[in-house]
């Protein structure tokens, strides 16, 4: 279970970094509004789907992003630190001109990249440990029952 959580976090961070990269292209070349950027590149991440859904129901983007991160990001496997970062990313997303947005997206690509690196380290170090712990716990229980 814990081992799967570590893998889910890595996958979600990778997905979000892909989203940031796609967002950079959209902002620079098509200048579509933030809701459309998310709509086009929301694949895989539940909180992005949730945000689009909330926006389509008339909620403004800022509130929709906050609610979606608080409500759904944990199901994507994001940790608390990732969620804080997502919230601060949402505050600045769309709030400046193209150059400002490029810097914003660049900055958060770096920050999420660091998180991804640590998530990968965690997964590599801890997933085997959790797996072995699970196996030993299972074996111990089986022996006790016999």
């Amino acid at each position: 279970m814990e081992s799967r959580k570590l893998s889910a976090r890595v996958e979600s961070l990778e997905s979000f970094l892909r989203f940031l990269s796609a967002a950079k292209t959209e902002v620079r070349y098509s200048a579509v509004p933030v809701t459309q950027v998310i709509e086009r590149h929301k694949t895989g991440l539940r909180f992005l789907h949730d945000c689009v859904e909330r926006c389509s129901q008339g909620e403004n983007f800022n509130a929709a992003w906050k609610d979606a991160v608080s409500g759904s990001a944990k199901y994507d496997g994001f940790g608390l630190h990732d969620m804080e970062l997502l919230l601060s990313f949402g505050e600045g997303f769309g709030a400046s001109d193209t150059d400002g947005q490029m810097s914003h997206l660049e900055l958060y690509s770096g920050l999420f990249g660091t998180n991804l690196k640590s998530a990968r380290d965690d997964r590599n170090r801890k997933s085997k440990l959790y797996l072995m712990l699970g196996i030993f716990a299972g074996l111990s229980t089986a022996l006790l029952l016999c």
């Binding site: 902002v27 200048a31 579509v32 509004p33 933030v34 809701t35 459309q36 403004n60 983007f61 800022n62 997303f93 769309g94 709030a95 400046s96 001109d97 193209t98 400002g100 947005q101």
Partner: protein, 339 residues
Amino acid sequence: MNQEKDERFDSAAKCICDRIEKALDCLPGDVKRHAQEIRLRVNRPVCICCSEGTYFLSPEGRIHCRPVPGLLTAEPKDMEESFRNLCSYSIYSHENEIRNGYITLSGGHRAGICGTAVLQSESIGSVRNVSSINLRIAREITGAADRLLERLGNQLSEGLLLAGAPSSGKTTILRDLARQLACGVRGNLKKVAVIDERGEIAGTYMGIPQNDVGCCCDVLDGYPKAAGILIAVRTLSPEVILCDEIGSEEETRAVEQGLNTGVIFIASIHAGSVRDLMRRKQARRLLQAGAFGNVALLDAAHGPGKIAGIYKAGDLLAETDGGAVADSGRNARRGYGIA
């Protein structure tokens, strides 16, 4: 609470911050139907401008003719929220518009904005601390151009320049002209190209015109007018080109170039009177070039879309400086009109 609906007003009001939108939502239906502008000024009462005058809004959605105490005022955070909402929380996607002092909204509404200019090498790079928002409600009035066409005898083959003060109904008439020409309401169908730099004529949102501009109409949404005219002439083979608020040197040159291809131009220009119009160098130049055979002056004082007079370009030029209008060759093919 009275919550009568007016689709156009409500869609425009939706772009403002929640607190003010709630009060606007409670306005009587009659006010909503006649409202032309919603005006927000920082720390000042919210105003609704109708053709009859300006009204002030109370937090409960009641209107007052005078600025009495207890009115709903736009606080700095309301201005900030409204500005971000007007930009769909995507300031970068309205960068050029903001530089030019406006934001085009879905439904063809337009918000004029002003605040503190951020200068970048002597030109306006951006605007910060937005202090005023003028939300102009786009109204689609089917048949708005009927009176004008009747007075012109359904003849537009010589081109038409619509002159009028702000809020005199120039865009509403242009939109209806596009629809009537592109649908063949009063004669043959025409291939119409609308150069909709500010998105006010067709109100295009996500690539789809929100207003009815006819079935044979190509909309060049967001194109600068000068570039749009040349692109339309080169690629869309239009018979009629429509554009709003013409007047710069570059636009004048583009019209002159288009004129040589035989396209009919219908455009609007800001001018409160014939005198104002003839004082404008570019307008005079266009009339002299024969771009517009007729000039229709709109009368803002008697409500939007009212015609104060229709003038022949040649007569206006002769009156002002004795200049003669160039023969664009259009009089030889009067049958090209819509009748």
